[in-house]
């Protein structure tokens, strides 16, 4: 008993010491371990979050928005034909140092060239280091987009494109476009340990990397020579806590001040806790049901409209998403510029849907498959349950559906091949540009194996889509996207199910923390009272 009492006393002592020192340390309860610390080669939000404090890109997203602002590039010019983008780099930007590396020079054009060439050029000595998979660089179609990257002088870099591309700038704000230190890479190559570049990161960001213990903790320290506004905290710690209930318990006990991914069941308590601010925002995503428009009767727009009216959307939102979902009426979430709020969603009306189906020649008892993906995704917590609800709805209008699913990889492959009649999928945006959503309804992606699983190719929609891609004027582009939403609504190639709602509980003493519409965790400007 005595031992127990001593242990208790010791525990309380520790807790006391901890709270005294926490004045300058912000602890973030994260959900998992990063694969590495180089955003060029990894693909998960967890890994991007872990590398973000250390790095910068040429351009960056203003915290809490999808708006682009200068980063390591102070400014840029776009040539009149949109084929060349010239970046003027910031001067006097320092790199971090570590036990193994002390930089001898400031950031310059060589670092930009090294970073992009590593992903792009097979003859870069780093191309194959750490697995060499640059998934995002490839997914954003950079290899086909880029013609050349040239150093005009130490502080000017010119990107020449194969075709004008307005979303290109937003791409460069993404994590994969991170700028690494060429000098550090050279040093590690000489030392025979090139993979160190991806494990002990050296960047120009507001925090230097201190230490990482797998599945336990990541530590960062504010970088005194950071080129931007100095961090308002001294130490940043990621406490890797996989269970959402444990994260919430830690937040309540002030063992961490910011947490990711609350359990929906805890939201109520979080809202009521006087020490906690429950921040929320619609996620940059969409869950949808695609009608395969190459297969009759889904090739008729009236049939697709009728099926859209047959689905009881509010019940799905209530039953499957609980508080963490918002009914979708457009293919892009409302946080993206150009969202067309004037669109009137189809009303749930099974009687009218039945009539329309009859008029379109769909017999009572028509059979179709209805695919649901076998995984939980940020935009869809339970696709099977959604499918079951839809099945019941379709039954009411005389359509018999069979639920179909496959292993996730197989599922995507078969859907992209167009094997389904109706099927669920979704999308999480990368860079907050509408183009990054609408390409999923474009003609290029409608080919077999492409990502447009409605296999829908509409000339008016496609013309606008292509035109918007090459228009650099934001207001003009926005008008085109608004019009595209009108077309998509009328043609109904997909039924827009929902956008998830992202919740982020933080302690009340955390200042200037903004929920990122891009689903990022950003601590550069966060303070503690």
């Amino acid at each position: 008993m005595k031992i127990f009492a001593r242990l208790l006393a010791a525990t309380m002592l520790v807790a006391g010491v901890a709270s005294a020192a926490e004045a300058k340390t912000l602890v973030y309860c994260s959900e998992g371990s990063p694969e590495n610390f180089n955003p060029q080669i990894n693909t998960t939000g967890t890994s991007f979050d872990a590398a973000r404090p250390v790095f910068n890109q040429l351009v960056e997203f203003e915290p809490g928005t999808t708006k682009i602002r200068p980063g390591l590039a102070e400014s840029w010019d776009v040539s009149p034909d949109g084929m060349e983008v010239t970046f003027h780099l910031r001067k006097g930007v320092k790199f971090h140092s570590s036990k193994t590396f002390k930089p001898t020079r400031d950031f310059n054009a060589d670092d930009v060239l090294f970073s992009f060439n590593r992903m792009w050029k097979e003859d870069s000595p780093y191309h194959k280091v750490s697995g060499g998979a640059y998934d995002y660089f490839n997914d954003m179609e950079m290899p086909t987009l880029l013609k050349s990257i040239d150093k005009l002088d130490d502080y000017t870099v010119k990107f020449t494109l194969n075709k004008p591309n307005a979303p290109f700038l937003a791409n460069l704000g993404m994590d994969f476009a991170t700028i690494l230190s060429a000098e550090y890479a050279d040093a590690m190559l000489k030392a025979g340990k090139p993979e160190m570049v991806d494990q002990q990161p050296i960047g120009t960001g507001p925090f230097t990397f201190v230490a990482y213990q797998k599945d336990a903790v990541i530590r960062y320290k504010a970088f005194p020579d950071f080129w931007g506004p100095k961090a308002k905290i001294d130490d940043l710690v990621f406490a890797i806590t996989k269970d959402p209930t444990a994260r919430w318990a830690k937040l309540q006990k002030n063992e961490c001040q910011v947490m990711i991914g609350p359990n929906p069941a805890d939201l109520d308590a979080m809202g009521k806790d006087p020490n906690v601010n429950l921040l929320s925002q619609p996620g940059l995503n969409i869950a949808y049901l695609a009608f395969n428009t190459t297969k009759p009767p889904f090739d008729k727009k009236e049939v697709r409209q009728a099926l859209t009216m047959a689905i009881d959307q509010p019940t799905i939102i209530k039953d499957v998403y609980g508080g963490a979902g918002q009914a979708a009426k457009n293919f892009i979430p409302p946080t993206i510029w150009s969202y067309n709020d004037k669109i009137e969603p189809y009303k749930y009306d099974p009687a009218k849907a039945k009539e329309m189906l009859k008029a379109a020649g769909v017999q009572e008892g028509f059979e179709s498959d209805l695919w649901w993906m076998p995984v939980t995704r940020p935009y869809n917590p339970n696709a099977k349950r959604v499918a079951e609800l839809m099945q019941a709805d379709f039954e009411k209008v005389g359509i018999k559906t069979h639920l179909v699913s496959f292993e996730w990889g197989e599922y995507r492959k078969r859907m992209q091949a167009g094997e389904h009649q109706m099927g669920q999928l979704g999308w999480s945006g990368d860079n907050g540009d509408p183009d990054n959503f609408f390409f999923l309804l474009g003609c290029e992606a409608a080919r077999p194996g492409g990502q447009n699983i409605a296999k829908w190719c509409n000339k008016d929609f496609e013309d606008l889509f292509q035109k918007a891609k090459t228009t650099f004027d934001l207001a003009e582009r926005a008008k085109m996207y608004e019009q595209m939403q009108v077309i998509a609504h009328e043609e109904a190639p997909v039924f827009n199910i929902a956008h998830s709602v992202v919740y982020e509980p933080i302690r009340k003493n955390v200042t200037n923390y903004k929920v990122s519409p891009l689903g990022r965790r950003e601590f550069a400007e966060v303070g503690l009272e």
């Binding site: 525990t11 697995g131 060499g132 998979a133 599945d215 444990a246 063992e255 990889g409 995507r412 990502q451």
Partner: protein, 336 residues
């Protein structure tokens, strides 16, 4: 004795090959592969898929992949994780001490409380004490680890504020790991309060992981004791006037311990399974969640290597338990 050890160790080799084979085949029977597993909604183009499958050697016939793998293992090379690009042995040796530390504490907790509980229940057979202890043991045995862990966190950490929620030590302390065992490292660090913090972080996970073994050991000890207490030699010991403590504690318990030691040995395997959940709830950086994630990511080398290393350790512990029989009961010594 030595020939027994050699024989047992030699027998381990075919077991190893069989385990390697089973894991190798089982993970490949699960649909999807390491390349596809890391892609999201976009999927991956057939060209890139083929390229990376080739880079990882996954385009080879499975039998060839397996033989290559055995050859690699025979040379002490467990491969490199596909997702983190870190050698398996490095990851294992970083994470395993945490699991071992927790499992050892849980086992000590279970044994120290379980054996006396079993003995008391047996000597008070049919009384209120017996029913209470065995009722508690049955409850403990049927306790779902996940629920039990969260319940303890909510009660002791959140409501009463007595213990930390999760992790191995307060984040305030930062020192380079020396042994990987937090109790030792925190002691060596010399930082004030570090050791106490490490201990306080161990309390709840130890209880959660130790509950099921505790219940099993208590029940096993009770039934073994009951059998022994009915033996003639115990009656003789009582008849010649030995104190109840000597009868039970020295003569009966030592013989009753043989089945109990067997159970403890077998529990090591179960402990590994329990560690997966316990580590998840308490953010304990051990091998449990490492292995589970390797399945999700189809990180073949991690899963194969990790399972082999874990099973190797379980096999070694069981050999050790076999040897312990001889110490407990000279009649079954293995020496000729």
């Amino acid at each position: 004795m030595i020939s027994f050890i050699i024989r047992r160790v030699l027998l381990v080799i075919p077991t190893f090959v069989a385990i390697a084979f089973l894991t190798f085949v089982a993970i490949r029977l699960v649909p999807g592969d390491p390349v596809e597993a890391r892609t999201g909604e976009r999927g991956i183009s057939p060209e890139r898929l083929a390229y990376f499958r080739h880079e990882l050697g996954l385009d080879q016939p499975v039998w060839k992949q397996f033989l290559d793998y055995l050859w690699q293992i025979a040379h002490g090379d467990f491969g490199t994780s596909i997702s983190t690009q870190t050698p398996i042995l490095t990851e294992f040796t970083t994470l395993f001490p945490a699991t071992l530390e927790l499992a050892t504490c849980a086992m000590l907790f279970a044994t120290i409380l379980g054996i006396p509980a079993g003995v008391i229940a047996a000597t008070r057979r049919g009384t209120f004490v017996d029913y209470t202890l065995m009722g508690a043991a049955l409850t403990g045995f049927s306790m779902p680890i996940f629920w039990w862990g969260l319940l303890l966190i909510l009660f002791f950490s959140v409501d009463l504020g007595l213990t930390p929620v999760s992790g191995r030590i307060d984040l305030l302390y930062y020192f380079e790991p020396v042994t990987g065992f937090m109790l030792i490292d925190s002691w060596l660090s010399g930082e004030e309060g570090a050791f106490a913090s490490a201990v306080s972080h161990l309390i709840l996970p130890t209880i959660v992981l130790g509950t099921i073994p505790l219940a099993t050991i208590a029940r096993m000890t009770r039934s073994a004791m009951l059998e022994i207490l009915g033996e003639d030699y115990v009656r003789t010991a009582r008849a010649k006037g030995l104190s109840p403590f000597r009868v039970v504690g020295i003569h009966a318990l030592r013989n009753a311990l043989i089945p109990v030691v067997t159970v403890i040995g077998l529990q090591v395997g179960a402990l590994m399974a329990g560690a997966v959940l316990t580590e998840y709830i308490f953010s304990w950086p051990g091998i449990g969640s490492w292995l589970i994630e390797s399945i999700q990511r189809r990180d073949y080398p991690v899963l194969q290597g990790g399972i082999l290393l874990v099973s190797g350790i379980v096999i070694l512990i069981n050999i050790f338990v076999d040897l312990l029989y001889g110490v407990l009961n000279p009649r079954i010594r293995h020496a000729r």
